[in-house]
């Protein structure tokens, strides 16, 4: 009897697993075909000398790309840009969310105002930035009234300032909305108890709000990191494939290698970038685990 029940359980478990597999299969096949397989192809290209000869050179391409001056410059600029823009995007959007979470006049109008940049098409954004930051643009005209000489904003060491401004302008609104949602999810009772215990605003913010917001902060940070790479689109439209060296990013390097049909350098650079991103995101997860673990418990 026991044996029969055991067999019945086994069969039911197997049926359930098959059922689950059948439902998961289309998604898994799709992920395999459109993500895993192309990534395998990228790895293959990074290990051969060129697509014609297809001779395996193993890690020679990696050594060559890591030694390349253009790649090193692009990598350095991308890291600097990400590590400046990412924290600014997180901190400023959090401050905005805290401000707009209070009962202030015209609160919903301010929220709409900060969300509007997300709806503006890229071509319009590029046009606006060109009008503002061109050598003969409105910013230089304004500064000229104070006797400041013209600055070539997009072709000088000031170019990263423009790109960071562009990035923040585009992304603050969405990050702010995510933080507003996160703030709404913090249990009110904790704040009330803290107030009763004579905790000040800073103590409430640091010990309660930040802890409960840690998953949101992680999510916004990762999103900002990903969006910091997407800013290439606007930079490319503003400055073409070979910009001034201060805003030459990894995607410029990869885009130009594609145009040169240098698939092996392109693939190698993409893999190196992926590995760095995996490390950064892994570190972020570890930090979030540490700060947010008592909240999750």
């Amino acid at each position: 009897m026991k044996e029969r029940n055991k067999n019945k359980l086994k069969q039911r478990t197997l049926r359930q697993r098959f059922g689950a597999a059948a439902f998961l299969a289309p998604s898994l096949i799709g992920v395999f075909l459109f993500f895993v397989l192309p990534f395998m192809v990228v790895i293959y290209y990074s290990l051969v000398d060129n697509p014609i000869n297809a001779e395996f050179v193993w890690f020679q391409n990696f050594a060559s790309v890591m030694r390349n001056g253009a790649f090193k410059l692009a990598g350095k600029n991308t890291l600097i840009f990400s590590f400046i823009a990412m924290p600014l995007a997180v901190v400023l959007s959090l401050l905005l969310a805290l401000m707009l979470g209070r009962d202030i006049p015209f609160r919903s109008q301010f929220r709409t105002f900060f969300l509007t940049p997300m709806m503006v098409p890229v071509a319009s954004v590029v046009l606006i930035v060109q009008v503002m930051f061109d050598f003969n643009g409105s910013v230089n005209s304004f500064l000229g009234t104070f006797g400041v000489p013209k600055i070539d904003w997009l072709k000088s060491d000031y170019a990263p300032v423009v790109i960071v401004f562009l990035f923040l302008w585009k992304n603050l609104g969405y990050n702010m909305i995510l933080f507003l949602a996160g703030l709404e999810s913090i249990p009110r009772e904790l704040t009330e108890v803290a107030l009763l215990e004579n905790a000040n605003d800073w103590q409430i913010f640091w010990n309660i709000k930040i802890r409960y917001l840690s998953p949101t902060i992680l999510f916004v940070t990762i999103l900002s990191l990903i969006n910091s790479f997407k800013v290439f689109r606007e930079v490319y439209l503003l400055t073409s494939g070979h910009p001034y060296d201060s805003i030459y990013l990894l995607q410029h390097y990869m885009n130009n290698q594609f145009k040169q049909l240098d698939y092996q350098k392109l693939s190698t650079a993409a893999i190196i970038m992926s590995l760095v991103m995996i490390v950064i995101i892994g570190v972020l997860f570890l930090i979030e685990n540490h700060f947010g673990k008592d909240v999750e418990e």
Binding site: D49, I52, D152, G241, H242, D245, Q260
Partner: protein, 420 residues
């Protein structure tokens, strides 16, 4: 005209011809004829042409797609042109044709113009079959140039100072003159081998200052090129010579003897050549030998003697055709007076110029040009574009040379570093 008999037969796997796929952007009529002959008389293979110009109706789009497809698809022959230089060859797309050329008894390798072959070599290998070339030069009046056979940028600066109101190089705006001067003196500023460049130099400043003396724009509506040359408004004329009779045009334009001085350059090699069509055998092709069997017909005497657009790469054929042209250059009229026999004429801007077979003197000049040209312009349009984009700000007076050269230096450094 030819009469042929066609025999119908069933196609079986045994008798079906193997297909040699050829990719191109436009094809010369003479090569099409050779393809038809090959397909007619070769019992084992036939050539199938994929013309990317017909497919995309735009040269640039067609060529970009051809480049991508050539690295992915199994073509056997790819037809390229000089403007792309060795780009596809550097990707490892083509096989070295020197072993074929040197070991094939149907080709008289020693008769081929070695300067042309050497100019397109890479690491001692030749990746293209080049049937013909055209010569790129600048022409000026002998009265102006005297005994000069070449000139430098300094010489050009001197001529410009003495003639501030005359045009140089027919379409001579600031950017066009800068582009021309850059094309021929790029080695003075860039070393692609070592990955260095330096645009923050007095030489580059001098080049931009010379270009700046030219007009910003030309009113093309009222621009009459030949009339301007004849009247002396255009002092030097850029030209491409691809026919034996073309050399006779220029004394008519300049109202007297002319010198084919070439473009200003630091090494005195201002006359260059280019191949309008180059044919490569793909490294991955299964039918390399058959592809070579077709391409070698472009080196045959029959083909070389009938090239109508460009000069044959076979030196003997070039010389024979030149001698034939000289023999036919004069005739006697009803009064017994020797006159030049016009082979044709070109009419432009209401001016008609007659094309004559070359005289002995003109033949000597043409022979000298053919034998002396040994370099091609290594023209990278993207690299040139980024330099000219910044130079424009200097020409319009918005930025100083120091500001412009700094930006050019930065962008050029990145461009060169990427290619290493």
């Amino acid at each position: 005209m030819e009469l042929v008999t066609i025999n119908k037969r069933a196609i079986t796997p045994e008798n079906q011809k193997k297909v040699i796929k050829m990719a191109c952007i436009g094809l010369d009529y003479s090569v099409k004829e050779k393809i038809v002959d090959f397909n007619k008389y070769n019992s084992d293979y036939r050539i199938q042409v994929e013309d990317y110009y017909d497919k995309y109706s735009d040269w640039e789009t067609g060529y970009s797609q051809l480049q991508i497809d050539a690295t992915q698809e199994a073509f056997d022959i790819v037809c390229s042109d000089s403007s792309q230089g060795l780009f596809l060859a550097e990707k490892g797309l083509f096989t070295d044709v020197y072993p074929y050329m040197k070991n094939d008894s149907d080709i008289s390798f020693e008769d081929l113009n070695e300067s042309v072959l050497k100019a397109y070599e890479k690491d001692g290998k030749l990746y293209y079959v080049i049937p013909s070339i055209s010569i790129n030069t600048v022409i000026g009046s002998k009265k102006t140039l005297g005994d000069m056979t070449s000139w430098t940028i300094d010489d050009m600066a001197r001529f410009r100072k003495e003639n501030p109101d005359r045009m140089f190089f027919n379409y001579g705006t600031q950017l066009q003159v800068a582009e021309v001067l850059m094309s021929f003196s790029m080695n003075d500023f860039v070393d692609f081998e070592k990955g260095n460049c330096n645009f923050e130099t007095d030489e580059f400043k001098e080049l931009l200052e010379i270009a700046k003396t030219f007009p910003k724009e030309i009113d093309y509506e009222n621009y009459q090129e030949w009339e301007s040359v004849m009247s002396g408004d255009i002092m030097f004329m850029g030209a491409i010579i691809s026919g034996y009779d073309e050399i006779s045009m220029y004394p008519q334009l300049f109202n007297g003897e002319v010198t084919f001085i070439g473009y200003p350059s630091s090494d005195g090699k201002g006359n260059t050549f280019f191949a309008s069509r180059m044919y490569g055998v793909c490294e991955n092709s299964q039918y390399k030998d058959a592809a070579w069997d077709f391409l070698k017909t472009l080196y045959s005497d029959d083909y070389q003697e009938n090239i109508y657009n460009g000069f044959p790469v076979n030196k003997k054929v070039f010389e024979n055709r030149l001698k034939e042209a000289v023999k036919e250059s004069v005739y006697k009229d009803e009064n017994g007076t020797e006159r030049r026999s016009a082979k044709g004429s070109w009419t432009y801007d209401d001016i008609t110029l007659y094309l004559y077979n070359p005289t002995e003197e003109e033949a000597k000049v043409l022979r000298g040009l053919y034998e002396s040209v040994d370099s091609v312009i290594d023209y990278d349009s993207e690299f040139m574009g980024l330099i000219l984009e910044e130079a424009d700000a200097y020409f319009s007076g918005q930025k100083s040379f120091e500001e412009v050269s700094k930006v050019i230096q930065s962008r050029a450094n990145i461009y060169i570093a990427e290619k290493r």
